[in-house]
């Protein structure tokens, strides 16, 4: 295997800033013998493609991001991100902590507009529509978002939580529609069997994993065009995680999913494409299978081998 001394060297570095630490690791890595030790052939076979975006035709693309930059006050946290997301499949966004994964998907959902010190530039196309020109509320109704920590509305029942998108946007439904939407989406979120007898209890009484599936159900109920998930399983135990992963694998057949994850194993298990972010830049974006076997960038390779992050 690769040099075991790396972790020790890591600990010698100053711990002030993770990004500095990572940069320093790369510095050291230049001196280390690269992957070729393990598989001499890989280095030669490295594909030239670093960003698969251009290979999706217009019709295959659901969301297209051009030159996206995000600034928090004066710091540029995302640097000219260009990425297209396909209509079919699950895209995993991974990268070390603080690289800007959450910032990226929050930019898609226009969540940064809640914070006045944040500035977002660039172009986002959802289907054929430039969504940067639409009001944020309209965009958010079409793009679902699931957060790291399960956050059902504590004042609402399970039933109301599924309908929360309609309640919160003032869309009126009759009783029959409500029942249909609730049943359909709880089933889609693999939650129906567990909660069908207590639909009118508070959503916060559910377990963490159930709550997270409830949050997925309430996004699905809005018939969103894309589903964004920000580390949806990082607050859950392994069994709940597996359930969510199974759910996502089924859902991705119906709806494009973009999921942030810390967990490379998870990305390799359930994603079709993987994007690797590092220090606010998109380093590599490719089919998961290709990226996990023959990464085209050294930094991706180092990340996948668990050298940082």
């Amino acid at each position: 295997m690769i040099e075991t001394s790396t972790p020790n060297k890591l600990s010698n570095l100053n711990k002030k800033d993770p990004s500095q630490k990572q940069a320093a690791v790369f510095h050291k890595m230049k001196r280390l013998k690269p992957l070729s030790i393990r598989k001499p052939s890989i280095a030669k076979k490295r594909p030239q493609i670093k960003n698969i975006s251009q290979q999706f035709s217009h019709a295959e693309t659901i969301l297209s991001i051009t030159d996206l930059c995000v600034y928090f006050s004066a710091t540029k946290v995302l640097k000219n991100i260009n990425i297209n997301f396909p209509k079919k499949g699950l895209v995993a966004i991974m990268g070390p902590s603080g690289c800007g994964k959450s910032t990226l998907i929050r930019a898609i959902n226009r969540m940064h507009e809640l914070d006045q010190s944040t500035n977002v530039t660039g172009k986002l196309m959802l289907g054929n529509q430039d969504i940067t020109t639409l009001p944020a509320m309209a965009v958010r109704q079409r793009i679902g978002m699931v957060f790291q920590r399960p956050n059902p509305f504590p004042n609402m029942t399970i039933f109301q939580n599924v309908l929360s998108g309609y309640i919160l946007t003032g869309m009126r439904l009759n009783k029959k529609q409500k029942n249909e939407i609730v049943i359909e989406n709880l089933k889609k979120a693999f939650l129906w069997d567990e909660v069908k007898d207590r639909l009118h209890e508070r959503g916060t009484f559910l377990s963490g994993g159930q709550q997270q599936r409830l949050c997925i159900a309430r996004s699905l109920a809005m018939q969103v065009d894309v589903l964004l998930l920000d580390e949806p399983t990082s607050a859950l135990d392994p069994i709940a995680t597996t359930r969510i992963e199974n759910l996502l694998q089924t859902l991705k057949k119906e709806i494009p999913i973009i999921m942030v994850t810390h967990n490379t194993a998870q990305a390799s298990r359930i994603s079709d494409y993987t994007a690797f972010l590092y220090l606010g830049e998109l380093i590599e974006y490719n089919k998961t299978k290709i990226m996990f076997t023959v990464p085209s960038d050294k930094r991706t390779e180092a990340y996948l081998m668990g050298r940082f992050g």
Binding site: Q141, R142, F147, N151, F153, L168, M222
Partner: protein, 281 residues
């Protein structure tokens, strides 16, 4: 060596006991006045209370009997009207502050709240006299309610801000992420979650103004009869207590004790309700 250590330990234990004793002593000492007050009010108040006391208006001085129903009606009318006036404004202001903590306006409103809280009630009454009583040419429930509303404002605002600040940011973000407007987020998520806390704030404010005679003195003034409209003057329990207790007439003094007991009972019930409300969360 050992003996010395054991001695030191024993010394520390003794010191600890002494300290505990002192703390206990002062705690009890602090409770004594409370118990004395309650005891005295109960002892003097209970004999004055019967069905007549609660259902008849006050008697002329130096006669027999007489009740406080006019004061009870006045108290209820004024506190409820004050709550109706104060609550919407205070909740709106509290919500604004909670969501715009860093803005200048919030800082100002918050500061004014603390200032308003420390303005003596009698001064508030005086201001309302100039603003409402003088132009209307009469003392009224309305004027009394506005004076009380002014005193309730800061209490409700501050409790609203505190309760909303406790709501997890993720839940509020989730509402926005569903495509909700700011207004819908407030009405459908933030306020429903905050309701028990805000209600507790309102009740505390209510209890506070119910016990104050000072803001009523220049505004609702007092009325020996049951008021029929909001433009009538009215008596409240504290005002009656104040007027009757300093009078030389025995039946009035007795009425003052009875009224004190009723007021105390009310305050205790209110405190209890607040505890229940805040505990349920």
């Amino acid at each position: 060596m050992f003996a010395l250590q054991r001695n030191a330990t024993r010394y520390r234990i003794i010191k600890n006991h002494i300290f505990n004793g002192i703390v206990l002593f002062f705690t009890v000492l602090a409770l004594v006045p409370l118990f004395l007050i309650v005891y005295h009010v109960v002892k003097m108040g209970i004999p004055a209370i019967d069905w007549d006391f609660l259902t008849t208006t006050e008697a002329p001085p130096d006669t027999e009997g007489g009740g406080i129903v006019n004061s009870i009606v006045g108290t209820v009318a004024i506190t409820f009207l004050a709550t109706f006036i104060a609550t919407p404004f205070a909740i709106a202001a509290g919500t604004y502050i909670a969501f715009n903590r860093k803005k200048k306006l919030s800082e100002w409103v918050y500061l004014s709240c603390s200032a308003l809280q420390s303005i003596p009630a009698i001064v508030v009454g005086l201001i309302i006299y100039i603003w409402i009583v003088a132009p209307m040419g009469r003392f009224s429930i309305l004027a009394g309610s506005v004076a009380c509303a002014f005193m309730m404002f800061p209490i409700i605002i501050i409790s609203t801000v505190e309760v909303i600040s406790l709501i997890s940011n993720e839940v509020i973000e989730a509402a926005f992420a569903m495509g909700a407007s700011f207004f819908k987020t407030i009405m459908k998520v933030v306020l429903p979650i905050a309701t028990p806390g805000i209600a507790a704030g309102i009740i505390i404010a209510l209890a506070r103004v119910t016990g104050e005679a000072a803001p009523i003195l220049f505004t609702a003034f007092g009325n020996p009869f049951i008021p029929t409209t909001v433009t009538d003057p009215a008596s409240t329990l504290p005002l009656t207590i104040y007027k009757f207790a300093i009078s030389p007439y025995e039946n009035w003094q007795e009425t003052a004790w009875g009224a004190s007991f009723i007021l105390l009972l009310f305050i205790i019930v209110v405190n209890f309700t607040t505890k229940l409300l805040t505990k349920k969360r």
